[in-house]
Each structure stands twice: as C-alpha cells, then as structure tokens.
Symmetry: C2
Subunit: 668 residues, 2 copies
C-alpha cells in the first residue's frame, strides 16, 4: 500500500492546433451554442431553421392566431400609453423637438418585431442614452444656436450606434458587454439619475437660460445664479405632479396589486397637465408648454446624415458609447426574461436587431432606441426585485410599473400593435399634446430617476466587497462631478485593473491532510489538517502566465523557506514538493518556463518536484514545451494521496516513514 | 456508508476587512516578504537591520577585507575594459557626444555600490534605452540643429526616469514589470536589434546625412537614397572588424573556455581602430573618427535640467518608457543571479537604487544607466543559456562574455573599482580615444545586436503557443516598422487582452468518477471516467467575477441541457448539480449574484445545487452576501465523494441507487 498501483495521468497526444483553436473560439464567441438545434436536422429543415434563426418573424408568425392577438392588443395599448409621455420627456432631455420622441416609438418597434428574438421586450428611448447623446454631440454643436445641425448630428450618431451594434453582433463580440460589471452599472445609473434630476430643476423652476454642462457643480451653479428667473407657479405645479407620481410608486410598493396605478400615472400627469395648461392659460403665468407638435408620420431623414469630417469624431464617439450602454441594458434584459421563461436569448442576435433598429431609425427621423423591459406580474416582480430593480428603473417612466404576465404580450406582435397605436397618435392626436407643460415632463423624469439611486445596493456592496464599492463609487462620482463617459471609463478601468490583479496574484495555499480521510485541504482554512513530514503540498491558483509567473516562483520559494525555517532538526527538511494543478485552467510559455526554472532551483536544494492532476490544456503545453520529459512522466500523479504515498516511500528517512505509512493503511 | 459521517466544511466567521485587506496587500505588494528577517529581532538589532536593508553598503562594508578586494580589483578592471567601448558606442546611438557615455560609467557605479543590494550586478548604459531616448526626444528637438537643447532634454528624461523608478520602488509597484511577458521581451529585443543594426549602416557606409526615423522603411530608404555618399574604405574596415567580432563569438560558442577572447574583443577593436586611424590618417580616406574627447571628470549638469512645459510631455514620456524597460531588465537580471546564488533580491529595492542612480546621474552629466549582468562562469552559462540569453544580449557589447565566477567580484566593491578605473580613464586616457573610427563602434554595436534576434525562441513559441507567438511578432514587427514604443504597447496590449480573455472564459469541465477510486476527473481528459446517475458534477475555473459570470451561467445551463438532451428516459434526468469550487481563488459581487440567480433557475427546473470545497476567500464572501444561508449550510461539502454519496441517498429513484451505493462500498 505504501506504493500502491496508482491511477495513471492521461498523457494523450496534444490536440492539433486547429482543434484546440476551434474549441477556444467556440468557448469565447459561442458560449451559448446558438446552432445546437440545427445539428441533427435534415438539409431542408436546416435551411428553414437557419432562416428562422436570423429572422425570428418567420418562427412566430405562422403559428399566430386571434386568441393570442387579444393579449397583444392589450399589452400594445398599455405600452403606447407609457411611450407617449416617455417619448416627449426624453426628447426634451436630448434637446431635440418632442415630436422626434414620438417618431422614435413608431418605426423601431416594427423593425424589432421582424429581427428581434425576445418575446418579452418592447423598444423605446431611454434617459441615460438621451442625456449622453446631448452631452456628447452638444459639445460640438449647440442645440440653441444651430438646432438643425444639432438634430442632424443626433441622427448621425444614432446611425453610428446602429452600425456599431450590428458589427459587434455579427462579430459575436457580445463578450464586451461582460466587462460592464454590476457595480459599474449601479454606480453609473445612480450618477446619471443625480445629474438628470438636477437637469430637471430647469423645467421645475421655469428657467429660460441654462448651462450645457451636465456635472453637479455647473448645474447647481447655473440654477443658483439665475435666481431672478425662478417662477413659483411652475415650481408649485411641478411639486404637485412629483408628489402624485411618488405617491403612486409608494402605493405600488405597499400594494403590489395596484401596480397599474403607477403604470398609468405618467399619462395621467400629461393629460391633467394639458387640460390645466389649456384652461388656465398657464403660459401667461410663467408655465412653459411643449408648443407645436405637427401632425403626420416620420419624415425621411436619410438625406440629413452628416458625415462632415469636422463632426465625425464626435458622432462616432457618441455612437460607440451610447451603443455599448444601450446594448448592455438590452442584453441584460433579454437574458433576465429568458431565464424566467426558461428560454435562452442569444445576446449577439439581439444586438443585430438593435443595430438594424437604429440604422433604419436614423433614416426615418428617429433617435436612439433600445430594448426596454415589458412584462412581469407583480408577484414575480417582488421576488426578483434585486435583479430587475436596475432594469426597471433604467427604463425611465416605465419604472416599477408592471403589466400582468397573463394579460401581457405573448409574441413580438405587441410591438406591432404599439407601432400602430403610435401611428394613430402621430396622425391624429399629436397636436393635442402641444399644451403639455414642461414642468409635467420634468416631474415625470425626476420621479423615474429618484428611484434609480440604489442606496441599498451601494451599502450592500460596501459590506460585502470593498473593491466593488470603489468601482461603483468611481462611476457614481465620476458621472456626477465630471461627465458620463469619463465616469464610465474610470469605473471600467478600475474593474479591469482588478481583473488583472486577480490574475497577477492567484492565491496559492499550503495543503495538509485532513485526519481520517484522503483529503488535502488549505491548512489555514482547516486548522485541523496536518502537514506531511518531508513533503510540501501546494495548491496553485489559475491561470499561470506571464503576469504572475514571477510571483508564483517567489511564493513557492517563500513557502519552502518558511517551512524549513520552522524546524531546526535535519530530519524535518523538505524533500518533495507537490504542486496541485487541479485548479489551473490555462498556462502560457512564461508560465512553463517558470516551472522549468523552479525545477532547477529545487534540484539545487535537493527537493524533488512532482505535479498533481494537471488539466488537459496545461498538460498539452507542458508536453509540447518538453517540461514533461524534463521532470519525467513518473513525477505526474492523478491525486495528492497517490503522490504523497509515493513520496513517502522514497523518503530517505525511511524508517519512521514506513511506520507511519503502515498506520495510514488502517485509516485508508 | 450511503450517508457517511461527512467531513464538515469550515464556516469560520469571515475575517475582518482590515485583516483581509492587509493579507491581500501583502500578497500583491510584498510577495517576497522582504522584512521577514527582522521579525524576531530585538529593537536595536531591528534598527540596525532596517538601516542595512535600506543602505546595503553598511551590510557588506564592515565585513570587507583585502583578500576579497583581489577579486573585486580583477572584476572591476575587466568591466572597465568593456565599459569604455560600450559607453562611446551607445552615446553615439543616443546621438550625444561620446564623452557622456564615459561619464555615465563613472558616477552611477558609486551610487549603486551604496544603495544596490545585488552583489552580482554592474551598471552601465544599454543599447535599447539609448535608441529609445534618441527616438523619443529627437522627435521634439533635433540633435543636429540644436545639440545643446537635445542634450539637456536627454538629461531631463534621465531625471524623470530616476524619479519614476524611485517612486515605483517606494510604492512597491514592481508588479508592473510582471506585465512584460517573455514573448513581449523576445519580440521587442529582436525588433530593437533589427533597427539598431540598420542604424549602423550609417557608420559602416560612412554616410553623413541620415534620417531621424528608426523604422526599417525610413532607414533603408535613407541608406539607398544616399548611394553617392557610400565610402568603400569605411565599409571594408567595418566588415573586417565585424568579422573579427563575430569570429570571437563563434569561438566562445565552440570553446566555452575561450570566453575571455570575446570578452576583450570590443576593446581590441577600439584599440586597433585607434592605432589604424592614427597611423593611416584614416580621416582623409573617408573613415570618420570620434573626434575630440575632453580630459576631465563629469561637469555638473543639474542647472541644465529643462522643465519647459513645451518639452515636458516628451521628456516625461521618454522617462516613463525607458524607466520601465530598464527596470524590467534590471530586476530580471537581479533575480536570475539571486536564484543561482540562492539569494533573493528585492526587485523593488533594486528599483529605488536604479532610481537614485539616474537622478544623481542626471545632475552629473550622465544619461540613462541600469543594471547589466556581470559574472558567471562559462559552464553555468552554458547550462542556463536559455534564461540568460536575453539578459546577456541586451547588455550589448558585454554580450556572451563571462568573467569566471571564482575570479569574479564578490561584493558591490567591484562597482567602486570600476568607477575609479573610469575616473582614471577620464582624467588621463580619454583624449587617446579620439581616433576611434566610427565604423569600429558600428561594428561593435552590430555584432552585439546580431545575436539578439532569437530565432530559436520564436520558432519555439510558434510550436508551443500560437498566441504567445502573435504577441512576440506584434512587438517584433511593431518595433521594426512603426516605432519602439508603439511596438511595445501593441504587444503589451495584446498580452493584456489575452489575460482578460483568460479570466473572461475560465475553462469549466464535467467530472466523472474514475473507477475503483474516489477521484473525480474531467470526462474529456479521462474517457474511462463514468458519470453518476442523476448527478452532474462540474468543476469551475477561476476567478469568478463580473467579466465571466454571464458566461459561467450560460455554460452551466448548457451542460444541463446537453446532459438532459442525451437521455430520453425520465429516470436519467439530472436532480443534483455539484459545483466543485476547489480551484476558484476569488469571486466578486457579480459572481455571487450569478450563483444566486443560478440557484433560482435550477429551483424552477427541480435541480438541487450543492457547492463542493469552496476556498476561504470565496466562502467568506458567500457568507457575507447571504448565499450560504440561501442554499443552506447542508449543501456545502468538503469533497465530491461526500456530496455524491449524499445526493444518491436523497435521489428519488432510490431503488437503483441504493443498489449502486452498496456496490460502491466494496470499492471504497
């Protein structure tokens, strides 16, 4: 038993480069294996499935029937009643005429109905991207001085967003979105909410002049410098609306069944505001109104796309940043819903749908749109509140509203219904909204944004992970005090830095044997575990590569030094070093060279190096780099227990060891 | 035995933030535990050790004696004979008067003798950094049109290099150097060698006009456009010298004992060149000579440091890049030697010594210096050739020379000897070198650089790791065809990208039981391993955090889907999912939330989630984030075998399972 017939390590020939490369690419770009359904089909069926894969319309339309339509009609109308106040409000936030907000809720839903794969997603404009667009484009063209140029640049930026999203989708780079961490998004949303709320002080106080900057200091400065412009009438109306909206939110929290009250509240505010402004001649009392809204459908805007080299850097940049953010949100939502319905959505395919939506939108007087949540019944919402909190809030006025799951849309048809409803609105009802007081819009936006500052989550982050909290604060403070893109980049940069630190310092630990078992565990975590005389067992973290190979070498040598420092007697000297590589999933050239070097150093100290349970990728490279030959195949073990038994057998101080191993037999 | 008295997972209370933070900082910044010797000392001894730690001079000087001095004298003189041709050559490469190359070998060795801790390091100028300086600073100030300004900017850049190195050392950011991978360095050195060699065509062909660009295309263009300036006399002399130098290198490779021939070859070339130029009046035959070299020691240059905002960006940038490269090299050398002598050198402390060396150097008319290798006997060199190859070559003219280990310097005193020898040279011999033909210097540089293009290593990289090869080629081609800093950044960027991909896609695998053992191993790697009915065991890679949490979720769900897709019978359905976290060394908030989400999805599918062997860092955060409570402490297992036994016990299809577990008892 001291030298048992051990389990052999599998030294299969390394896979060819093509095989390994294909496997790596698949894991990197197709982790969700989108084509798995088509593998075992006949050619004709395969073609059909492929077309259905790329244009999901063909998948759901053939099975569509009137009974489904009843649900979609209800859902579509509900969404429209939410999309109108949202469209007008966010267009104001983007500094473009409000009618473009309504245009943006007409064409894109039709496009998504054709190319989009999620059944649970509606499309519309979002607050953060609206402000981001106005901040980025506004730096180059003033919306006040040259509104036409500004509008055209907004269209151009939307076009680039679409191109960027489509390209990323086709290149399957959805992986980029993975780099926006939960903490970054929490901080970014909180910061955005703060600055958007402050922006609304303009509308609430009825200011005429305002700053183009978005940071807290500039905005507060502008508000307080213009105290002579403050209008109490405007402020009073605004506070009443805001109080009403906040009350409906409160009501929904207390009585989830009354969620529909907060769902229709924004529309109520708009209608009440219009009536009030019309009958009270609010304009004469310092309450500004939206002003003329032309009847009619989207005019074409493809001729307005502006590719002047002078403006190109700004529009491309705006397109990139808003594209990434809109995408992150869209994919996150798509996936969350898919989980609930046990249905998987391909994020990269969604991205292509969003891209088409924005490209076609930019041709038809729409500005940036993306997927916003749609339906969820109240009970599910409560249970999943942690996950959905952000998504809901991000969707702005839609926030914390929920359409009953059973009464909700079952297919993408609800987007079609929404599009038709919006068409009717544009054709017949648009002029009615001319009396909407700006202060009502400000109240709607503020109410939505106030919920976005997720204190609980920030406190939670602080408690559980300090570094995550710092990442979150970088985004929060960066967005609030510098600008949205700087805040975002700062936070992503910090998150990447941490990712690199993770791999630069992979935790290694010393293992000891847990009594009465063949298990070896971290001696720090399990103080009961006992070291093995003459054998040092170390577990290395993953991956091993250039950025941590020096560290690993130093760390291993330090363990040996510490171990030998503890004991004074000659017999306690380490004669075997076992490296447990079970957890090491990858290694590079520098890593392997470190092992070679380590072996030389150990040789000079008279310590024998053995490797335990290397994984296939690691073993492949070790074989290719001739490390396997250098230390000999007999130095590879499948389990620590095997390795320890063998080491003990060969230990110089054989007498005591033999006794021990005899004792051990009884245990095992 | 079906539900054995299992080993418990240790749910110790999470460590406090301060403890965890301290431990993390220690691993990140003090992996080599530099103060370990001082821990158990008395206060007075502690103070003494601390002073000795910061100023190693006090450590070795008290024990110094005359018998040691004999070795140091020999070593010091040898180094000097190598430093003179090197100093003159590299100063020409940096486009500054040759005398500054000699100055740079006088003051810095003294500084290093005081603050440096490695006994096996000499200091001097290096080729890559010299060219890098001239490339970066030359872009802003022309060495031909305004040599004074150019020289002052070089001093200023050296000053910033020193400041940067000192700061990094004090902040213990030696970790930065870890991000220069072996592949990056191989490619960078190769590319640098190519462009430095091509630069030497100017000297070899006796050209007067030349380009300031360093890329291959510009340089070859400049050489061939100036065909009318080519001087055959110069070329013939150059080729003779080059052939001689290459022959001594060849000799050293064939007969390691004759290493001293190649060691003194550059000095021989300089002396022969001087004599030849003097007696043959070479200047009249188109062979340019170095020209006047003033007698005397370094003049002060502190008053010339130029902090004009116009030049600041260039000097700071040059300082940063050269600092990083010089440092990487210095630390690599320091550590390699320390390993051989089983003595550990603290890289960060070395960096401070280099920093002081450059700051003081910039005050005393020296330009950038760093640690270059010093001694090694021929046999060791041969054995360690892989490791030392780069280091040696990088050191330029010193390359492939080796001073016998036994006759070599034992203390930093050899640097002092070298300083004194250089002082004597400056005071008395400098004017003699005025006749050195430029073509001799070019031959010395070319010979050193030719060995730098490490074809074997590149082929090796190509065979073992394609991505490493790409990283290497990015540096090689980037340096050759664009510029040194762009090439370096390109390569480092690619290496970082790979590091991020490593952590974005940590390899997960399905485990099966190896027959007749309690081991669970990758089913792909060990085809003999068998799955367990109703239980899916997955091993997750490390770390788990925001950039890979989505991937991990999708991957786990895909494994379940694949598993259930294989079997048609109802009995084969998965009822337990075991996640083996042994290899997961860290996790962040997003990662934990992914686990929470995964649990909800699995619950809805009727699958029970259990965790096997989480490490202390992971368990801490799971407890803080209440994940432990959510799935229950009874779902944590110490080993897969325990977990599987428990799962089998609770499986619905209890009949067949009971039988199996009975069979299993016999095995275990």
């Amino acid at each position: 038993m001291a030298n048992p017939s051990r389990q052999a390590v599998n030294f299969a020939a390394p896979r060819g480069f093509a095989t390994a490369f294909k496997a790596d690419c698949k894991e990197t770009f197709f982790p969700d294996d989108p084509f798995h359904e088509m593998k075992h089909e006949k050619p004709l069926n395969k073609l059909k499935k492929t077309i259905q894969y790329f244009i999901p319309l063909f998948e759901w339309l053939p099975n569509y029937n009137l009974s489904l339509f009843r649900y979609d009609l209800l859902a579509g109308i509900t969404i429209t009643s939410l999309a109108i106040p949202q469209g007008i409000s966010y267009a104001k936030l983007a500094n473009i005429p409000p009618i473009y907000g309504l245009y943006s809720s007409f064409i894109p839903p039709f496009v998504y109905a054709i190319f989009g794969s999620s059944k649970h997603l509606a499309v519309g404009t979002v607050a953060a991207c609206s402000l981001l667009l106005s901040e980025t484009v506004g730096a180059k063209a003033s919306p006040q001085d040259d509104p036409t140029l500004y509008l055209h640049l907004i269209f151009t930026a939307t076009f680039f967003t679409g191109i960027f999203q489509t390209a990323l989708g086709f290149l399957r780079l959805g992986i980029l979105v993975d780099f926006l961490s939960h903490s970054t998004i929490t901080g970014f949303m909180g910061g955005t909410a703060i600055i958007i709320c402050l922006q609304q002080l303009k509308g609430m106080l009825g200011l005429i002049h305002f700053t183009t900057h978005t940071d807290v200091v500039s905005v507060l400065g502008a508000v307080f410098r213009r105290r002579n412009e403050w209008r109490w009438e405007s402020a009073v109306v605004g506070i009443i609306f805001l109080a009403f909206l906040q009350f409906t939110r409160y009501l929904r929290q207390k009585r989830p069944k009354l969620f529909w009250v907060s769902a229709i509240a924004p529309m109520v505010v708009v209608v009440v505001g219009c009536l009030f402004a019309f009958f009270a001649h609010a304009e004469k009392h310092g309450i500004q109104i939206v002003g003329e809204l032309k009847k009619g459908l989207n005019p074409p805007s493809i001729q307005y796309l502006n590719f002047d080299p002078q403006y190109l850097p700004v529009t491309v940049r705006a397109g990139l940043i808003t594209g990434l953010i809109a995408m992150a949100e869209g994919i996150a939502i798509g996936r969350s819903f898919a989980i609930m319905k046990s249905e998987q959505t391909d994020g990269n395919k969604e991205m292509i749908a969003f891209g088409f939506m924005n490209i076609i939108g930019s041709f038809t007087s729409c500005y940036l749109t993306t997927g916003i949540y749609i339906l969820l019944d109240a009970t599910i919402y409560e249970e999943y509140s942690d996950i959905f909190f952000l998504i809901f809030e991000f969707a702005g006025p839609f926030s914390k509203t929920a359409v009953n799951f059973n009464a909700g849309c079952r297919t993408a048809m609800s987007n079609v219904v929404m599009g038709f409803c919006m068409m009717l609105t544009l054709l017949f009802l648009a002029p009615l909204f001319r009396y909407t007081p700006l202060v009502a819009l400000s109240a709607i936006i503020m109410s939505a944004m106030l919920g976005l500052i997720n204190y609980d989550e920030m406190i939670h982050l602080f408690k559980v992970d300090k570094f995550d909290f710092v990442i979150c604060m970088a985004a929060f403070l960066g967005v609030s005090f510098i600008s949205m893109d700087v805040g975002l980049m700062l936070s992503v940069g910090l998150a990447l830095l941490r990712a690199l630190l993770y791999v630069a310092r992979p935790a290694a630990c010393k293992l000891g044997k847990i009594p009465n078992s063949s298990l070896y565990r971290d001696t720090e975590q399990y103080p009961g575990s006992t070291p093995i005389q003459g054998v040092l067992v170390l577990q290395l973290g993953s991956p091993i590569y250039f950025a941590n190979s020096t560290y690993i070498r130093e760390r291993v040598l330090r363990y040996i030094k510490e171990e030998q420092g503890v004991s004074d007697s000659k017999t306690e000297i380490i004669e075997h070093l076992l490296l447990d590589l079970s957890g090491v999933s990858s290694i590079d050239m520098t890593g392997i060279e470190t092992f070679l070097e380590l072996r030389r150093i150990l040789d000079s100290k008279g310590i024998k190096l053995s490797i335990v349970n290397p994984r296939i990728e690691v073993l492949e490279k070790m074989t290719l780099a001739k490390f396997t030959d250098a230390i000999g195949k007999e130095s590879f073990y499948l389990s620590i227990e095997d390795a320890v038994q063998n080491c003990r057998f060969s230990l110089h101080s054989s007498k005591t060891t033999m006794e021990e191993s005899l004792n051990d037999q009884n245990v095992v």
